[in-house]
Structures are given as C-alpha cells and as structure tokens.
C-alpha cells in the first residue's frame, strides 16, 4: 500500500527551479532514504510534503488522500522533524512536549509524557529548560515531539545534522526500532550516503530538483559496485603496478595521491594482499561513500533514469 504518492511535483522560487517534475512512492513499512547533496531539493520536497510550502505544480497523496484538501487529517498521522529540532527554549522539555501534544489534540498524563521523554533518554532532564540542552538532546526532544501522537508516518529531515558519533548512532537505532518494532513508515533525508545505507529499505536520490534514481537499497548499494579509495606513498607507481596486474579492470581514476577503484566488496581483502605483494606502500584503503562519487557511478552515461529495477 502506498503511504505517500508524489506525482510530477515542481516548485519554482522565481526563476529558480528547486524541484522539477519529481515523482516517487513510499510504501507502508518503508524506511525511505531521501538522498541528495545540499541544495538538491530534499528539504523543499519535504516541506511540500509537510504543507510548509505550496507546490507550483504536481500532486501529493498521503494515506490515499490528496494533501491539498485533507491537510489536517493527514498531518494528524505524520510526525516530523524538519531540519533543526527547534522548540521553545524558555520552556522545559516536559512543557514543550505537553504543548505540542495538545496541538496534536492529545491531553496526555504526566506519566505518559515522562514515558515519552524516557524513550529518547531525556527523562532525567525533563524539567530543565531547553536552552541548557546540547544539540543532541534537542534533536532527541524533537523526535519525542514528532512521535508523541503516535503517527503512522515519520518524516525526518537531516536528523543527524550537528550530532556527535554517539548521537548519530542513537538516531539510527531509533529509526530502525521505529520501523522494525513499531511498524512505522519512515522518510529520512540525508546528504550522507553511509547513513542511509545502514537503515533504508528504499532510496531516492535527487540532484538539482530532479530524480536521479529510485529503488530498493539492496539494488542501489550493490556490493559489486563498491568504490574504494587507495592512498599510497607513490600513487604513480601504484597506478602503473595495478594496471599491469589482474586488478587493471577495477581501476577507475587517479585523483592526485588517491586512486579510486570499483570492485566487489568481498574482493577488498584480496586487493589488500595484492598491494602488499606488489610492494605498494599503502597509507590507507577505505570505502568511498560520498554522494559525489556515487553520482559519478549512477549518472555515468545514464542521466535521470525513471526507476531502478527491483
């Protein structure tokens, strides 16, 4: 069942086209990764989905209802954190949560509110004003607010921005719990491929407001297409040695001191052994996850495909 169906969505800001003829579908139970570089149009699309901005063209259906005519009914079933988790800094976490619960039409007991804060690890600081909170704590409070009315669909726009590694891991685990234990549908946007890779069941990549690719994460993050960045003490020697070896076919390009290779993830240990045997001085060998590299991969010779085959 399609929870979200977006058809030919566009948004113009003057002469600038932020989103251009974008269509995609989010199915029930998906953790839908929404990927794109900064300025790609992710936030604009999510803002249109949350009715913060009006589309110039196109239509959005959520829970099989047109968003334009059923805004209130739809928003009752959505919880969202858009960009930063901004709340009232002069109020406590508890008061913020109570206030936003009431806006969603709920009059929750103190215990219910504290349970919600407990879920995001803020119960002990529940009565402290938010201005004393760290960025990670604010983010967790933002998520508690988004979940307080038990929505079916959760929209998280760049939820790990500004978080430390532990905070990022916490958010990731929370998203997985929301999907697996509580059977929620989650749309999560990010410019970090590595983040989405670990949690998404389906992925949409957009660039300059247009769809680049949409499909299941398993297909999109094909282990046979893994990009690896090799840094050596002498990159010219390493490049020449690899070209004359059985690894010539996986060489992609040389970027200064780095060499980019594309190979199956399972072949990386063998590559490592071969580098040692060829007496190449390896400084580092790491997986590449940046969108820039990924775009190079998915857009090579095939711009703006409609859908990735499942």
């Amino acid at each position: 069942m399609a929870i979200v169906s977006v058809q030919h969505l566009s948004k113009q800001f003057g002469s600038f086209s932020a989103v251009n003829d974008l269509s995609f579908t989010v199915e029930a139970g998906d953790v839908y990764g929404f990927l794109g570089q900064n300025g790609a149009g992710k936030s604009t699309t999510i803002r249109m989905l949350m009715t913060l901005i009006a589309p110039t063209a196109g239509s959005i259906k959520v829970f099989d209802m047109p968003l334009a005519t059923h805004r209130k009914e739809i928003l009752q079933q959505i919880g969202a954190v858009i960009e930063k988790p901004d709340v009232y800094k002069y109020l406590s976490a508890y008061d913020n949560l109570r206030l936003f619960a009431r806006l969603s039409g709920l009059q929750l007991s103190r215990k219910q509110l504290m349970d919600q804060l407990e879920m995001v690890g803020l119960a002990e600081r529940g009565y402290d004003t938010v201005r004393t909170f760290s960025q990670g704590m604010k983010q967790r409070l933002g998520i508690a607010i988004a979940l307080v009315h038990n929505p079916q669909l959760i929209v998280l726009d760049e939820p790990t921005n500004g978080l430390d590694p532990q905070g990022i891991a916490d958010i990731r685990n929370l998203i997985l719990r929301l999907s697996r234990e509580w059977k929620k549908t989650v749309i999560v946007s990010s410019h970090l491929l590595s983040e989405i890779e670990q949690i998404a069941t389906r992925v949409l990549i957009i660039d300059k407001g247009k769809k680049i690719v949409e499909g299941s994460a398993a297909d999109l993050f094909d282990p046979a297409q893994t990009l690896v960045e090799l840094t050596t003490t002498d990159s010219s020697f390493a490049w020449n040695s690899l070209q004359q070896s059985q690894w010539a076919g996986v060489l992609k390009e040389q970027r200064g001191a780095q060499i980019i290779l594309q190979l199956h993830r399972n072949d990386i240990p063998e590559l490592h052994k071969a580098l040692v045997q060829m007496q190449i001085g390896v400084i580092s060998l790491q997986l590449k996850h940046s969108l820039e590299d990924y775009f190079l991969q998915v857009t090579a010779g095939k711009q703006h495909v409609d859908a990735f085959s499942n």
Partner: protein, 291 residues
Amino acid sequence: MWTLFQIELYKIFRRPRTYIAFAAITALIGVVQLGLKVDGKEYAEFVMADFNSSFAVDGNILNGYFICYVVLQLLLVHVPLLIALIAADMISGEANMGTLRVLMTKPISRWEFILAKFSASAVYTILLLIWVAIQALLLSMLIFGTDDMFIMKSSYAVVIKADDVFWRYAGAFCFAALAMTTVAALGFLLSLFADNSIGPIVATMSVIIVSTILSTMSIPLFNAIKPYLFTSHMITWKEFFDLKVNDMNEAIPGTIQNPQKLWNSAMVLMAHIIVFVGAAGIIFKRKDVLS
C-alpha cells in the same frame, strides 16, 4: 481553536519579555506619582496659573482622578511601543526561533493559527491596559484620594463631579483597549514579513509615528486622509471627559458631549483591526514557511 488560543496565551506569559511592558508601566507611573506626591502643589499652581485670576478653586485638585488623566496622556504615547514588542513578535519571533516550521507541521489550520495568535495578543493588550488602570487610577485614588475632577481643555475647563468620573474612566479604558488592539493588529500583520522581531517592531512604530504626524498636521493635502488614519481616532478616549452643558453653561452629569464621535472612531478602529487581521490571514494562508 480554543486549545490553540490557550497555548498562545501560555507561551506569551511564560516569556520573560512579556513582563518588560508591565515593569515599564509600573516604573513610569510610579515616577509620575512620586513626582506629583512630592512636588504636586507646585505643579497644580502652574496648571492653574491662568485660571486663578478668574476662578476661586478649592478642594483637592491633585486627586487620583486628575493624576490618572495626566498619566494617561503621557502613557498612551508609549504604550503602543510596549504593545508592538509582543504583537510584532507573534509570527516573526516564531519564525526566528524555527518553531513556526514545527507548528505548521501540526494538524492546525492556518486561519485558526492566525486568529488564535491575534486573540492572544489582544488579550495581552487588554491585560496591559488593565494593569495601567490599576496603577494609574486605583493606585492614584489610594495615594491622592478622590474629589471633583478638573481638566483643562484648549479653550475651556471642565469640572466633573467625583461621583460622575469612574464610569468615564471605564469607558476611556475600553476605548483605549480598542485603540491599542488596533496597534497590536498592525504589529501582528507586519510580523508576517520578517524572520526577526526587530523589523516589524520598528515598522509598527514608524507607521504610528508617521500617521500621528499626518493626523496632527493641519495641511489641506492631509486633511482628506485624516479621517481614515487610525491614529486620528486613538485619542478619542478623551471625549469621555467632555460633558454636555445646559443653557446656564453648566455641565450635565452623566452625559458625553459628542457620543457620535466616539462611536465613529470606534467603528474606524474596528475596521482597521478587521482589515489588518484579515490581510494577515490571507497572506499567511499563501505564505511559504521557509524559516
């Protein structure tokens, strides 16, 4: 809508900024009362200088009713700024904090949101004026006592019997509440156009200052627009202290000389409120929340 209104009031009165206005009014009125308590006689002699040769005035001229009138004339110039501090921050402040974005993802209609926010700022305005009334009238009555009220107009003086004054103040404060709600509506409308509150506050005060200048300048070019400027009607509360007179030129207790003027001004102010809030609703309904 009711829940939203309660939440807006809750937010207003949980912000420290809200109490600046109440503290400022307490300080301003306190200073005036202290000054008149200490040097009031000299002030009264100065005020009565032109009349002493024509009238023999006895009794307590410097009573609570008179003090309140003096305070109101002084304060009603400054209160719009205090109103603008909150009203012009209602939307822009939310945009600045980023909470407008969060609020608009909740299942509330934009019209409800605008009406609830404006209603809350109107309540703040009324409470501020009630505070002014408590400080300027009730406290002055306690400190200076009560007696007949003596007011100097531009070309004549009015004496109002002590038992005929209180209801006039009740009416004047209600009218002032309407005038200040108009200021709140203007500030509220302007708060839609910025992501910080400084711009709308300055813009609100600028509109009031320019309109007041136009209202007071006696130039034929501006005379045609004066009746339509809300600032021309903001001081109509003084009409409550102008009485009808009989054939003997004696004031008739319980009367107002020109009630039609009060009614007309009230209607003009109401029309401004409806236009400002209506425009705010229409603009906000179509506004992209980008903050």
